[in-house]
């Protein structure tokens, strides 16, 4: 199981990739698509499609995490470039990008199922962060 991280910012997803790899270890395939092709803030459907294809070459299933706004539209365009079989292997989540990526990657690293990885990512939306008083 691999992860695709999509953001408006290349710097953000590169930093997130580093963090996810350090926490979850090197065994989970990761690909990123951040920023426009000319390096501005934004999203690029071709870059997203390339990231998805990259992960699908390395694993049976791919879970996609994205930031906001047009990332979802660019992702839709990217998914339309895939054939039906590949598209069935791509699972898009509503999970918060940073926390969701870390949780999903750790569950993927222990051989969890697609549903378990998606559930781990989704749970990031409600996980407590601050220590209880």
């Amino acid at each position: 199981m691999g992860l695709i991280l999509i953001s408006h910012s290349r710097g953000l997803v590169e930093g997130l990739r580093e963090m996810v790899a350090q926490v979850a270890g090197p065994d989970v395939p990761l690909a990123t698509a951040g920023g426009t092709e000319d390096g501005r803030l934004g999203t690029s459907a071709p870059a997203i499609a390339a990231a998805i294809t990259d992960v699908l070459k390395q694993s049976d299933n791919a879970v996609v995490l994205l930031d906001l706004g047009s990332a979802a539209l660019s992702l839709e365009v990217a998914l339309e470039t895939l054939d039906d079989v590949d598209r069935q292997r791509v699972h898009v989540t509503e999970a918060p990008l940073v926390e969701g990526a870390v949780l999903a990657a750790v569950q993927a690293s222990v051989g969890a199922t697609v549903d378990e990885v998606i559930a781990a990512a989704a749970s990031a939306a409600t996980m407590p962060k601050l220590p209880r008083a």
């Binding site: 926490v23 569950q107 407590p128």
Partner: protein
């Protein structure tokens, strides 16, 4: 079936933070026993990072590691070793 427990105190000044927690989940997932961490009346599944981070374990808090299953003793030994840099054993 064996049920085993070990009590530990978290001594790392950052508590049980993301990287060691992730290593811990990876180590726990190699065993078939049901493994939990208990702290202050709450319980987390040791094979789930979200569950574990949800405990928000503070420095100096006492935790109980419990395993229930055919490889419970081996699991606790391995997991206590995994946590060794961050904890001290109680009793």
């Amino acid at each position: 079936m064996t049920v085993s427990e070990v009590r530990l105190v978290v001594i790392d000044p950052s508590g049980l933070h993301a990287r060691p927690a992730a290593r811990f989940v990876q180590a726990a997932s190699r065993f078939s026993s049901r493994i939990v961490i208990r702290q202050d009346g709450r319980e987390a599944d040791a094979k789930s990072l979200i569950s574990l981070l949800g405990l928000t374990i503070r420095p100096q808090s006492e935790i109980t590691l419990a395993a229930d299953g055919p490889d419970a003793d081996a699991a606790l030994a391995a997991l206590a070793a995994e946590l060794a840099p961050y904890v001290s054993q109680v009793g």
